[in-house]
């Protein structure tokens, strides 16, 4: 399994979790970002993700490398889905492990926060009466 991965198939949070468990790990933290059925009270039918994949993989790898260095992590896995994602399914899975849990929590939260700021992936919400590129406008 690749640690840094973009796919149009369904994500496998179990495989991501297993991939970061190792005999010296004391704490494993996994974040799963799922597709919500509503935005500001408005019903969402599904999401569509578009990505500049070559650069997205580079930026995701940077996040993993920075997190591993800063929090002495042993492993971090970041998988992101692209294309159409139905309600309730996983858009992103980030898993990491450290000898101690505090580091794993901080690193995992840093990774998802940074991914949302820097990785060239764009999310479109599809409503019954139209569609919107999320966060495009102030």
């Amino acid at each position: 399994m690749k640690d840094i991965f973009i796919t149009s198939e369904r994500l496998d949070s179990k495989a991501c979790t297993d991939a970061v468990i190792y005999p010296g790990a004391g704490g494993v933290v996994v974040f799963v970002g799922t597709v919500r059925n509503k935005t500001k009270g408005k019903k969402v039918l599904h999401l569509e993700f578009e990505t500049y994949e070559k650069m997205a993989l580079i930026e995701m790898q940077k996040i993993a490398d920075e997190a591993k260095a800063k929090w002495s992590l042993d492993k971090m896995v970041i998988h992101h889905r692209t294309g159409l994602v139905p309600i309730g399914e996983e858009a992103v899975v980030i898993a990491c492990s450290a000898a101690h849990r505090k580091e794993a929590f901080e690193a995992c939260e840093y990774a998802i926060d940074t991914l949302k700021l820097s990785v060239p992936i764009w999310k479109k919400e599809i409503f019954e009466d139209g569609e919107v590129w999320v966060s495009a406008h102030p």
Partner: protein, 80 residues
Amino acid sequence: MNIEIIAFGIAKDIIQGKSVAMNLALGATVSDVKKDLIRDYPDFQSLASLKLAVNAEYVSDDYILNENDEVVLIPPVSGG
């Protein structure tokens, strides 16, 4: 020099296509490209941000473009 600028997300909707060809003076910077884009497509002004990536890396406004650069418009990202 001619440079093709590739678009993603809402930038694709604004230019109504996957890329736009621009004719730039030698020594043109990212800042110059942004000015031209906003002149040709005023909707870019309404975005929360507009960045350019060159060869799959973010670059600053004073980056000087080369003919073979892969130039990509990066509207506000929203992954995760």
